[in-house]
């Protein structure tokens, strides 16, 4: 979901020194922090997972990120990413949007069935991610966090002409949405990250 950061905006935000080289190298401020191999809370803290290796977590951007959504990546969000939704309540939205925007990502409702949740995610990709095609590959029941959840497999074509594939595992418990989602380039990156994703899903625990 974080691929939405414009590259131009990034360039503008980056301060570069003069003639000593292009780019500030790897010093200074980055929008990513390190996640190490231990149990860690994600989103607003209502879910915790254990990554099988070090990951990069995207720092929260005040006023534009939603508290119960968090994004991780290994190779950068253009190529791969794992996103977490940690107990999103009724009527909340996955991404901040203007009230008056013509196209709007639907809000989450506690009585949503899995097809409705996946439709909400599909709209997110089409409206905010610029996906021009999105296909559901499968939707099946899958236990998650000790309850009857679902697994959604999909792929989408984006405006950079790259096909990406994804898998989401989710469940609604006490009216709140818990979800872990993998989205990566269909060529190489999805398969490479899938084992990590499954390991993270298996480790997930609900708190509070």
């Amino acid at each position: 979901m974080k691929r939405l950061v414009g590259i131009a905006a990034l360039a503008a935000a980056t301060a570069l020194a003069g003639c000593t080289g292009v780019g500030s190298g790897e010093a200074g401020f980055s929008s990513y922090g390190l996640v190490t191999v231990k149990r860690v809370r994600v989103g607003d803290g209502q879910m915790s997972v254990v990554p099988p290796r070090n990951y990069n977590r995207h720092r929260r951007i005040l006023f534009s990120d939603v508290g119960d959504v968090e994004d991780w990546t290994l190779n950068g969000p253009i190529l791969d990413g794992i996103s977490f939704v940690s107990g999103m309540k009724n009527n909340r939205e996955l991404i901040r949007q203007r009230r008056t925007a013509d196209q709007q990502v639907p809000r989450f409702r506690s009585d949503m069935t899995p097809p409705e949740i996946t439709a909400m995610l599909e709209s997110l990709y089409r409206i905010k991610g610029g996906a021009v095609q999105l296909k559901t590959l499968s939707l099946q029941p899958r236990p998650f966090l000790g309850a009857n959840g679902f697994q959604w497999d999909y792929e989408h074509l984006d405006q950079d002409e790259l096909w990406r594939r994804g898998r989401a595992v989710g469940v609604v418990i006490d009216g709140k949405l818990y979800l872990i989602l993998l989205d990566a380039a269909r060529s190489h990156y999805y398969e490479a990250m899938l084992p990590d994703f499954e390991s993270i899903v298996a480790s997930a625990q609900r708190l509070g």
């Binding site: 008056t100 196209q103 639907p106 899995p114 439709a119 709209s123």
Partner: protein, 406 residues
Amino acid sequence: MCMRCAISRRSLLVTGAVSAAALHTGVAEARIRPQDMAPLVGPGYKPTERDEIGLWKEMDRAEEEIAGSNLLVSDPRLTGYLKNIIGTVGGPAAKDFRIYLARIPDFNAMMFPSGFAVVFTGLLLRMRNEAQLAGVIAHESGHFLRRHMIRSWRDMKRKSDLFAIGAMLAGVGGAGAGVYLGDYVQLAQLGTLLSLFQYSRAMEAEADAMGARLISETGYPPMEMANIWEQLIGEENASARYRGKRRRRGSLFDTHPSEGSRMVDLRADAAELTIPGKVYDNGRTRYLSMIGDIRPTLLDDQVKLNDPGASQYLIETLAQDGWNGLLRFYEGEVWRLRNRPGDAQRADQSYAAAVVYPDAPADAWRWHGISLMKQGRPAEAKAAFARYLKMKPDAPDAPWVRQMAG
């Protein structure tokens, strides 16, 4: 040049190729008459001047990239259909044009300086007959036949040069960055900008007039070009009204003539061009049969953007030819995604209506089933799910539906 695209001076500076104009409206100008619109190029045209040769070469590279893009629709029946149309309404250059269809849900079409056009699938959803589609293609051809791109490029160049010199002379630099640093500079830039847009507005009007002429010469009713704008205005009004906004109207900085004024001018053009007693054909039957297969996909792409005002307007427009299972289903989808109080019930009703028709898509049965489940009617829900699975035994979500169907 395109039907509707956002202007970006920055993008013009970087690519310097496809001219762009802002989305909305502009101050009214005197109408350009179709009979004054003569093509400025003939068949087999190739540029001879240095700057135009350079522009074409750049465009060849762009065309190569676009032709190889996986965003294109490759259905040969559809692309062949578009090629036929441009081959008929393209004027003298008809046989030289190339045309590509991209699967993007926006209403847009654009012509590039070297004679290739790109049309978006959002256009196919909104055009009601072949005459309207031909009208858009003819409009784009008009840009090429009147050499708008190279004229606009040269004008931009001339004006940017002027502006930079003006800024320098005023002693307040920063021309490249466009920084406002003094009244003189601000005035100069304003003047430059205004005249630039003026030029663009005239060009759009020329293309409209040329397009009307080209399609009427082919035998399409020229009034259909005016109808395009009437439909578009209706859609924008519906979209804005739903979000509690007003549709943006004309402002001095807009480069397209206002949609309203385009419609008015095109109506006058149609009156002039229509020959009493001549039989015109809007090609609706052929058009509907050509796009019939892709229409569900186009509706899907549009509805999933969750712009309920626009989507509902489009569905109701299509329903003027008669409601059917497909349209009732997508009507339901619009309510479901909109999800305001009462919309769930509206969606339920639409799905229930959809499944009565023989052409109801399989998905209508699944959503009908989900509706029934939520209404606490499990037996009927199971029946609906069973019907879905019967229609689509290999549906990707069959495992989940089977669990629901019990």
